[in-house]
Subunit: 341 residues, 4 copies
């Protein structure tokens, strides 16, 4: 069986396992207060071009979104997100459980539009009942989005400008950030992200790590007592150096982006293979998630040999499906997949 | 100045003030454990045709919605509501503050549609990721809606059937219930509400009382420890008999519906007056909130002499506005209003 | 039957009912944005000697405690209170429901001690694990306490100094504040409270009003968006002027303190009557709650004719009990009570 | 430098790293739905003698406590714990953040007493104000406790009986469970725990794993929708099989208890070494945490060469300190430590 249903089906990049094995005899203080974490922080600050940034390590995406958002907002504030955003749909109400509303904007292939955001914030401001409404207190975007799509640097800047004009921070969910940074044709670098966003996270779980996400706060002081807020959200790993080790490895020799590029390349091979056979794309993704429209016969045939994700029915006989590659995808598995169509 | 901007601009119906004055020398135990509250409960149970119903008294609408919903749901559940529902928009995030998501359905002049609700619940059930999503745990409707519109008895039954088929309770926000029960042409009585809904509230604040809402739980045991849950939500009035006195008065001699009918009659006079002058309705309300489309000149003229609510711009030169009447609206004020157009 | 079990067994002072009746024909805008509330705010600011204070009106004590505390604290902060404080024991977990821990100090007849508070805050600061602990973010005291006792002005100042030295606000629960201000021998005036506390409330429910508490924030800006935070806690009364009317009346002609003095005088008569007959006090209260130790026979006899509160067993044959007087207590009821012993 | 300050200073037992390395090329479905987790569940069920138990894997202790407790309790309920319990003091308010009060009992060397628990529950029940109080909804104990002490099987049974008599579940925090099971003289086995507790967790982080805790629910259905409740608490690991792999390894060949025994043996060597030199114990622990009273000179000398934990000052010149051993403690490090005294 071929497996293309998600990008977190494999363990860790071999270098990470080697680093864990090499360090296993050592003793460290807990909770990320160790030297390995400090080294990883330094490497990430360098890569971001932000020597003053705060860097924290958490364990997973939903946990990170919940902790960052709940730790930033006041009780009367909500977070603005695309209606398709992970925080809107697929976190089982983690944001609401922490007491905050997700205020939704239309999505455009997973992205929000700066003008629509501005319109939303202005409408809130202009509404004479706005004191009876949830105040927008933060904006959440994902990059790549849940559709695999990417913002341009200009789009990020415009969204950032709208946020800052309204006086609220911009937060970027980078669960798959590596796959975005490595994509062909993008003009968004890690520095672009660090310049436009007040807080974001660099996803490790889906890009080479066993688990782990690195939160970067580019506006120091934005979130008070983040250490304690991680603790109370159950997000403070006892053996914090395990996260430091993984991110130190990923941010050495540009490993993070290099392994992500491999995934994107394999994804492009899938894209081109399907296009060459005349299949349509519901929308075009330059990253490791590829979406295709297939007829029912093809879908049945594919499912005999490969796992994949259902996206949506596009008409009575056709379905949009998703293939996800990862840093670990074998080229021969892509060959085998393409041989099926 | 004429005042038509809301239906809670006046104190209480004179009989209620009389009842408060007559009782003022008496001593009562607190927290609604007194005999007056028990009498009021009995009258409400009789009016509902449900001798087994639990009846509780709270102070206001948002408080009641928050308390009932938070007291019913488990942490992984949300409440389904129209996107225009009061809980969705105008409670400053009270539901989310209590830890729960408001899952929105399209509104049709403020109403949800039973088939769309069924489709939503089925889609949740069918979604292979539904364990990562908020479980629909309750359905919220308002009657009359925020648009002044009413469900038919059949619509209520169908919505109730969908809820019960999915195994979740139906909750009706009756902040303006009296104005709905008294409307011309409705086939929904208090008994209909009690038969179709698992929990609902009878609004006092907007229908004759100084303040107060009566929660009726027709499925005893639906909400555990409701007394304590009122307390922890800050919704347990120390001098609970003040609420009992008001509801005892409202449910004596059918006062509740009779005074509501007056408001509806005055609202119909406004509706007919505007229609007679050729104005359009954005939608048709049979209750105490009336919506009209007026040109900018008319709007300016009206605003010199009357308070009213902005609803929305309908085109460059026209605006939909709202007039609210109440049990206390003076016919001569309606005359004066109509003389302005 | 004589009733001495609580101080919220009667309706409102006649002047308040008169004010409600006199205003009942008038129309007002909602939510406390009306002129009556503004007048009441002015009178309260004058009485406090703080023209810059923010004044808000809520409906009850638990609601006020919950709203003020939840609106002030950040997620990693808790409120420090006496282990006997109302927020610690008798609010059904309202503070915790809002996400915050109540950090308890020993009580001394209901009071906390400034030195113990300082020690507690220093111990937190000095604890090398304090980033894993709840940060003290506010201090809560009640005056009079749940034991009827009073702080001296000097004690309040010392507690305030400790709070401000640590950088956190002092909050005073004045559910029975009138009975404290009117007590014989106290050197605490409303101005003392306003000078030492950052936020406090003036209790109306127990001192002459039908219901209602006035929150005074002497450090403007301490609590952001308090209006919206009231709303989301279900604490924003639609007909806000009802609260304004009551507090305008209470703060006209010094009515608030004058009627409280009556209650204290009747309480002193009870105290002296019992002392004269040789009964012991478990502790000495100068306010409207009086505590006596009685033998079982006396207790049985009293209970035949009067309601009162059980406080605690003091030994096998004796019980401490509580009598509460109010602004409405009739002197002849006190006579009748004393005739029983 | 010697390190005895905590039991989570090392990575994983070599077998666990081997298992991770051996599996690293394999692909798995996420979220613990894989076969490795199922195998681990089977091994744990066997070890507990409870083939019907639910088993879930989470990442850390505070996260597990928060998730289990919040997922079980209703909004009006709190969890009863020793005043020294981890949930009471060192989780930064995680339980309160989830909306629930920690109701504290006196601790006796970290343990609660069944009679005191019974008395507390009876007092709640008997208190005529209990509807205004937080209902005890669960009891939390830790085994070993934060003092290293252990319950006897009889003590566990008696506490369980008190809980079940009151109708609430007993929850055991087994962060260091292995060190308890392996202790000399204990009559508590994993089966004893599974028989007496309704839910408990087997700590991996401190006993051989990189990270991970296994929750065992012996009363199926006790916690509804636990998967979704993990998700919304940010406690659902994407690559769930990493936890399964670790627990499968720990529960193969009795590894879990065997490596714990090593830690206990080294702890006993420390204990005997200090006792032989005439040092006093503040209390006696049979597990991997050892507490000693040392004079200031000794403390200073120890700190030059070893890390350890401050526990408390016992008098002006003496301090109680803690040494923690682990599955990875080297006997020669213990030798070196003992050579210092």
């Amino acid at each position: 069986m071929l497996h293309f249903d998600s990008d977190y089906m494999e363990g860790a990049h071999p270098r990470i396992l080697e680093a864990l094995a090499a360090d296993n005899g050592n003793q460290h203080v807990g909770y990320g207060l160790d030297e390995v974490c400090d080294e990883a922080r330094g490497l990430i600050r360098d890569a971001c071009g932000r020597p003053d940034a705060e860097v924290w390590f958490l364990e997973g995406g939903t946990q990170t979104n919940r902790t960052v958002i709940a730790a930033t907002l006041r009780p009367y504030e909500g977070v603005v997100a695309a209606e398709s955003g992970h925080v809107s749909v697929h976190e089982a109400g983690a944001i609401e459980d922490s007491g905050h509303k997700v205020l939704t904007l239309p999505q455009h292939q997973g992205k929000i539009d700066a003008d629509e955001l501005a319109g939303f914030l202005e409408a809130y401001q202009a509404d004479e009942n706005h004191d009876h409404m949830v105040r927008p207190g933060m904006v959440y975007i994902s990059h790549p989005t849940e559709f695999g799509t990417l913002y341009t640097a200009d789009e990020l800047r415009r969204i950032g400008d709208v946020c800052h004009g309204f006086g609220i921070p911009l937060y970027l969910d980078g669960a798959r950030l590596g796959y975005g940074l490595a994509a062909d044709g993008t003009d968004v670098t890690l520095r672009t992200v660090a310049e436009t966003c007040d807080v974001f996270y660099i996803g490790g779980t889906k890009v080479g790590a066993l688990f782990g996400e690195a939160v970067v706060i580019t506006r120091p002081g934005l979130i008070p007592a983040f250490f304690t807020q991680m603790k109370l959200n159950g997000a403070l790993l006892a053996k914090g150096w395990l996260l430091g080790l993984q991110f130190r490895t990923l941010f050495t020799d540009d490993l993070y982006v290099r392994i992500a590029r491999h995934a994107d390349e394999q994804a492009m091979r899938i894209r081109e293979g399907f296009l060459a056979k005349g299949y349509d794309l519901p929308f075009d993704s330059p990253t490791n998630q590829q979406f295709m429209i297939v007829d029912d016969d093809t879908l049945a045939r594919l499912r005999e040999h490969a796992t994949l994700s259902f996206w949506e029915k596009t008409d009575a006989d056709h379905t949009a499906i998703r293939f996800a590659t990862s840093w670990a995808t074998k080229p021969e598995d892509v060959d085998a997949l393409l041989a099926l169509i």
